[in-house]
Each structure stands twice: as structure tokens, then as C-alpha cells.
Amino acid sequence: MTQAQLEKTANNPPHIEEPEERHWRDFFGFSTDHKVIGIQYLVTSFIFYCIGGVMADLVRTELRTPEVDFVSPEIYNSLFTLHATIMIFLWIVPAGAGFANYLIPLMIGARDMAFPRLNAVAFWMIPPAGILLIASLALGDAPDAGWTSYPPLSLVTGQVGQGIWIMSVLLLGTSSILGAINFLVTILKMRVPSMGVHQMPLFCWSMLATSALVLISTPVLAGALILLGFDLLAGTTFFNPTGGGDPVVYQHMFWFYSHPAVYIMILPFFGAISEILPVHARKPIFGYKAIAYSSLAISFLGLIVWAHHMFTSGVPGWLRMFFMITTMIIAVPTGIKIFGWLATIWGGKISLNSPMIFAMGFLGTFVIGGISGVMLAAVPFDIHVHDTYFVVAHLHYVLFGGSVLGIFAAIYHWFPKMTGRMMNEFWGKVHAVLTIVGLNMTFLPMHKLGLMGMNRRIAQYDPKFTSLNEICTYGSYILAISTLPFIINAVWSWWYGPKAGNNPWRGLTLEWMTTSPPEIENFEKLPVLATGPYDYGVREKEVDIQAVLNIEPGEPYPTIESGV
């Protein structure tokens, strides 16, 4: 291409010719429509959730009795390794990206993401990575060194399985980096001109914070994994003490990514909750700016707390104290969010429908994970419970309570927008109640198990822990059953659910100002903001959707070339 041609393409609005109508097969191909990609992400990641969930239940079935009597210890280790890897890298992270893909352009009034093709590429790295990972089970040599893959253990277990694990996580990491670039540019450059950063929905703020984290931390993980790969396959000794390497260096690199990863997993759903609560409580979000900036604060602080995972592995005393304090400080912005949400529902007119029950369940369970998180930050206490079931309980309260419940709240909330149809309320409530009961039954007893002395990642345990483990196991079966009403409800409603109309929840953010499902390029004309995103109860600002959509015909959409 000539320079002139290049300039021309570069200045074209990110606009790719799309067909007039959607067909089901578009969802199985290389589509560049952010809405198709969003749904591709969500459906794919949900399938992996089911697979990871089955593995979790196998793990729990083994743990129903103290002896090793269900699977061999080797397979047991592979199961929890794959469970964790799948849940993190193939479920929660991609589900967040799925919502971001679907919602961001709609929320900011753009026609698509900044880089539609890159977007599709990012998605299409996920299925092969997932299939690769699961195929390792069929090869009979699945990774079994835990999702942390600490050397030297990961160097002496199976080479094939561990190699596959590295490859697969590298692919997934690359995918999330590509996604993050796209989100950042889209949010910063493509908003309708009337939307300043302080008119942006909070979900966009949380995706800004998330994407920044992804861009900073994921390359470090990639570095760690590449070096680990060399150690594993080429016999170098970066982390291998037999050749003078240092396994603790791997831990630093790994956690430099993997602690921020928990915020990468949870921040998007902090954002989603901030969207859902005001709509269903019919009140403005309480403390918009505080909630927006606390996301940025969390993402900044999230980068300087990683060694709290290494309090027992030999970091100097003063460093332990440093990381203790930074970790504790994260409780402050998190507390701001929690109290802001509580104040949002306080005095509102709460519709207790499925998205709202999930959102309130999110608040109620996440807070438990948050509290145990502060406890874990206290070094002397962490030394006792590190690598025990107390940690397993904590991480599931955060990731299940904080992320999975957030995902479900978001699905129930935006399903009408995505499909044009409502989900069934009754089965939604059944799903919510079963999930919240199962979640607490599975993970609450684990706190006590850990405190009393049950270490994690073991297939056999002291018989004195049997009864608590039985409760956990039956709880996990309830969790497994809880997804059935959801799956049936989602599939059935997609085809036969009652028509939703454009704005069933009477929301005020821009995504509700277009058709459901949105037309191919989202908005017919450049939309204009008529209200702030959360102006519920502000009489004068009664919204007129037509006004939003039909002002000033012909105004051009912002492109990545136009100013911020």
C-alpha cells in the first residue's frame, strides 16, 4: 500500500461492512461485530465453566471421604489444576471480556470496537487454547502441578502436560492483552462527543481499570511462562536449583500477574454491579466519582501487593510488612464501593428480580471474601493458614461470590438486550437461591477446615475432618444442580421468551436506547446523551428515547483519530 492509501485506511472510521441481518451461523464464524463476539465469548466461557465445574465436583467427590478412593492421586492433582486453570483463564476472564465486548460500544454510543478484526482474533485464540488444555487429559498426561505451576515441581512432573499448560496459558494471556488494548482505545476514543469521562457508565470505568492492569501485568506472566518453558523443554535452569536457578524468582514473576489477575477477574463485575443496582433499586448510584476512582485505585494498588502470596516462601521481614500494608490498603477503595452500593439500595424501590437477587447475593458473599482477605494480609496469621482450606474458602468467596454471581447478575440483566427476550423469573429465582445456598454450604465450612489444620491440594486427609468435608461435597452438588435451571431457562427464553422491548428495566444508560437486540451497527444515528447514566428519580430529566436517538442527523461518529 502506498503512504496515501495507508493514511486513508487509518483514518477510516473502524467500520467493516456487515450484512443486514444476523444468522445463527454468524455466531460460529469469524465475525467482526462486537455483539457477536461478545456472545461468542460468553457462550464459550460458559461451556468451560460447566467443564471446570464438573472437575470441581470430581475433586469434591474424592474429598467426601478421607481416603483416596475415587481417582488416583495423580489424576486428582490434574483435576484441581485443570479446574483452577479453566475457571480462571477460560471462564471468568473471558466472561468479563465478553460483557465488555458486548456492552462498551453500546454504552458509549459507538458502532463497534476500535479494532474489530483484532477483537475477533482475540476471541478466536480462546477455543484452541481451551481444547488444547483439555486434550491433555485425553493424552493421559495432564498438568498436575497446580495452577501456579511452581518449579521445581512443575519441572519434574510430566513434560507433555506441563508444556501444554504453558502453551495454553500463553495463548490465553495473549488473547487478553489484545482484548485490553481494544477496550482501552475504544473507551478513550470512541465515546459520543457529549459523553465526558464523568458521564461514562461505571462499567466503562471498571473496564478501563481492568485493561490497564492486563496490559501491565500479563506480559510478566508471559515472561515467567516462557522461561519456565525453557527450563522444562530446553533444559535451562532459570528456576531450577540443580543448575543454580531460583524457584522463588518464578513466584515473584507469577504473582506479579496473578494477584492483579484476581482484580482482572473481579473489577468488570464490580462495574456490572454498579450498573445493575441503581436500575433495580430505582436510585442514582451513590458516590459515582468515589466508585469510579476506587476502581483505578484498586488497579494501581493491585500491582504492589503480589508478595502476600509468598509470606512463607522466604521474603525479607521488611518486605513482608510492606506487602502486608499495601494489601490492607486495598480494603479502603473496596470498602468505598461496598458502602456506596449499600447506600444505593438504601431507601430505594427494590425490585427483587433475578438480576437484583444475584447482585445482592454478590454483595453479601463478596464481603465475606473481602474480610477474610484482610485477615490473610496480616502476616502472622497468614503464616498459619497459607496453603490451607482457609485460603480455598477465601478465594472462592471472592471468585465465586464476587465474580460468578456478578456474571449471573449481568446475564439476567442484559439478556433482554442481547436476545430481545425476557428470561423466566421463577426459574431465575430458583437458580439464584440454589446458587447462594450451595455456595455457602460448599465454602463456608472450609474456613474452619483450614484453621484446624487441613492443607489444600491433598486427596487424602485426616479423618477428623470428615464431617465438614461431607457438607462441602454435598454443597458442591447443589451448585452443580443449580446451573440446570439456568441453562434450560437461557436456551428456552432465547427462542420462546416473552418479547422484551427496547428497555424492559427502564434503564438510562445508552445501551437501553436502541433496539433489543441492537441493530447491526447499534445506533441508526449518532446518539446524544439526554440524561446522566444514573439519573433515577430526577423528574425534569424524564428520558425521551427518541430525543436521544434523533438529534442532529448526520453528525459523524468519533473515530480513533478524533480527540479524547
Binding site: G314, M360, H386, N455, G537
Partner: protein, 366 residues
């Protein structure tokens, strides 16, 4: 009569506080505290439980109350009051968590210091003086001779050399040729692990035991007597220092009743010190995933009731070792292959030989 709401708030606050105070002390979630350190850690945990219970009840209470009280009535399509913020309130709930975590941090810091978390070789004073303070005699001599911190001696190397002198550790370690490394990237200091408590700073521990972790067993060597065992015995009331390393992969030394944990890392030396306060038999658990049989890597720690009981036990071990294979090991461990060597120990520790064989095949296929 209508009770004004501020009185309600006050009442609820009082009840909440009392409940939290009660639960924080009566949760029954922890096992026995068998070391002096454990008592301190439990104090911290209880304090955190009090605060946590309060926050938990507050948040869940508000959620449930709102769900009931502010539920939308059928047919009411109005919006709620448009309250978007309240600066004093926002400042208040930023300040409260900030104060709470500050409090917990200070308390944790205190406890950490009291259990000996700060080895006094850290940044504040000249590293050499400090290092020599907690070092055993031989090492002090070595340190005093060279001054500049940049070339400060590799204390771990010395410790490791020391440990290598007991034959059992040496035999195990030599099997895989893992070199020892300086422990931490700190300021010319050793392992930032749990050291002596401040009152005892500068004093050597009363008893020293070297520990080697290997898939899937713990080996203890008592440098003062040259005894090697698969079970840890220590007398009550005396400060013990455990020097540890690992032979193959990372393991972690954890006794739940002691509230202490430390990773044993191949290529590194680390240490913890503690003072047992309650006699009894406790489980020593490996807390770091170290392979398929990780869950089986347990042994016993026996805290002997008196010094005499401990001495008697030690005597027994000495007699036993002079009669059996142990002696051969002590005299010339290199005559034994690592497998032979291990089989002997692991039988005593109740580990089936098959496991060991699996370990070794696992190693070799690498």
C-alpha cells in the same frame, strides 16, 4: 409510644458490638495453641474476628433489612429519592476502614516482631553487628573477620555447609546435587523467616534441628548428637530453631498447633524458631504441593513434657543408632544408594516403599 430512630441505632450498635466481642473470643475455630508464638497469633486472630464479625453483621444486616423494607410495592413505578452522594458520609466510610486496617497492621506488626519475624539483621543498623548477634558461635567468628556489607558472608552458605556435615542430610542432598544458595535478596541478610523473639535476640537457640524435606518425608538431624530421625522431638519450654531445606521440590513445614509455617526450598536455607509450651504429639504437615503423594507427607512432632523425657528419648535414639544401619549411614553414607538410604528411613516413618520408588521413577523420566 414511638421510639426515636437514633435510639434504635444506638441499641443496634450496642448489640452488634456485644455480639462481635463475644464471638471473637468464642469462635472455637483454632486448634490448641502449643507454642508461645501461637498464643500471640491467636490474640491477633481473635481481634480480627471481633472486627470482622461486626462488619459482617453490619453489611448483611443492611442488605437483608433493605431487601425487606425497601422492596418495591406492586404497582409502584416511581423512582426512589435521587440521593447521589453525601460527602461527610463518604469521608466517614473511607476513614473507618482506613483506621481499622491501620489498627490491624500495627497489631500484626507487633505480633510479628514479638514472634521474631524481624531478624535483627535488617536495614536499620550495621548489618554485620546485627548478623553476628543471632548467629551461632562458629558463624560469628567467620563474620567478624570481614567488614563491608557488600561482601558480607553468605550466612546461608555457612549454615548449609554446617548442615551438610551431618551425614544424613548430606547423603540425601548429594543424591540430587542441589547447590545451596543465599536465601533472600535482602540487604546482606539471611532468611527473613521467623527468628528469635526480641528478648532473646542475640542469644543462640537452646536447641537446633536440621530438617530436610523430600518427596514425601521429613528427615530431622540433631547436629549436637548426630542423630537422624523421621519424627521431631523437642522439649517443652525451650526455644528451638529449625533449619530447613529441601532436596527435590518445595515443601512447607507446618504444625497447625504451632501456628508456624515455612517453605523448605531446594537450593535455599531457611529457619524458624519457636518455644513449645504444651507437651503433646502434633501433626507436622507439608503444606506446599509437592507431588501426587503430597497429602501423605505428614509426620509427628512430639513435645516432650520435661527436659529429662527429652534426654531419655535422645539417649534411646543414640543407642538405637549405634546398633543399626544408622551407624553405617553415619559412618559412610556414600556406601548406600539414596534408595537404600531412604527405604530405611521411610519404613520407620510409615511410608510405603512403593511411593519412594514412584518418586524415583518420576525423577528419572525427567
Amino acid at each position: 409510644m414511638k421510639i426515636p430512630s437514633s435510639i434504635w441505632t444506638l441499641l443496634i450498635g450496642v448489640v452488634l458490638t456485644l455480639l462481635s466481642l463475644w464471638y471473637g473470643q468464642n469462635h472455637g475455630l483454632l486448634p490448641t495453641a502449643a507454642t508461645d508464638e501461637a498464643v500471640l497469633v491467636d490474640g491477633l486472630f481473635n481481634a480480627m474476628m471481633i472486627v470482622s464479625t461486626g462488619i459482617f453483621l453490619l453489611v448483611e444486616g443492611i442488605l437483608i433489612y433493605s431487601a425487606i423494607k425497601y422492596r418495591r410495592r406492586a404497582g409502584d413505578n416511581e423512582d426512589g429519592p435521587a440521593i447521589e452522594g453525601n460527602v461527610p458520609l463518604e469521608i466517614l466510610w473511607t476513614a473507618i476502614p482506613a483506621i481499622i486496617v491501620l489498627g490491624i497492621s500495627v497489631y500484626s506488626f507487633e505480633v510479628y516482631n514479638d514472634i521474631g519475624g524481624f531478624d535483627p539483621h535488617s536495614v536499620h543498623e550495621a548489618p554485620i553487628v546485627q548478623e553476628s548477634m543471632t548467629m551461632p558461635g562458629a558463624a560469628i567468628a567467620a563474620t567478624l573477620s570481614d567488614t563491608p556489607p557488600s561482601t558480607s558472608p553468605n550466612l546461608n552458605q555457612e549454615k548449609s555447609d554446617e548442615a551438610m556435615q551431618d551425614p544424613a542430610t548430606a547423603a540425601v542432598r548429594n543424591a540430587d546435587q542441589i547447590p545451596q544458595k543465599r536465601n533472600a535478596p535482602g540487604v546482606g541478610s539471611v532468611a527473613p523467616t521467623i527468628g528469635g523473639s526480641p528478648e532473646r535476640a542475640g542469644l543462640p537457640p537452646e536447641l537446633r534441628v536440621n530438617v530436610t524435606g523430600l518427596q514425601y518425608a521429613w528427615l530431622f538431624t540433631y547436629p549436637d548428637t548426630g542423630i537422624t530421625t523421621g519424627e521431631l522431638h523437642v522439649p517443652v519450654g525451650r526455644e528451638v530453631q529449625i533449619n530447613m531445606t529441601a532436596n527435590d521440590v518445595i515443601h512447607a513445614f507446618w504444625v497447625p498447633e504451632f501456628r508456624l509455617k515455612q517453605d523448605a526450598i531446594p537450593g535455599r536455607q531457611s529457619e524458624i524458631r519457636f518455644t513449645p509450651r504444651l507437651a503433646g504429639t502434633y501433626d507436622l504437615i507439608c503444606a506446599e504441593l509437592c507431588g501426587p503423594y503430597h497429602g501423605a507427607m505428614n509426620t509427628k512432632v512430639v513435645v516432650e513434657e520435661t527436659q529429662e523425657a527429652y534426654d531419655a528419648w535422645m539417649e534411646e535414639q543414640l543407642v538405637a543408632s549405634s546398633e543399626t544401619l544408622n551407624q553405617a549411614v553415619a559412618v559412610n553414607p556414600t556406601d548406600l544408594s539414596p534408595d537404600e538410604f531412604l527405604t530405611h528411613y521411610t519404613k520407620e516413618m510409615g511410608i510405603q516403599p512403593e511411593i519412594i520408588n514412584q518418586v524415583h521413577t518420576a525423577h528419572h523420566h525427567q
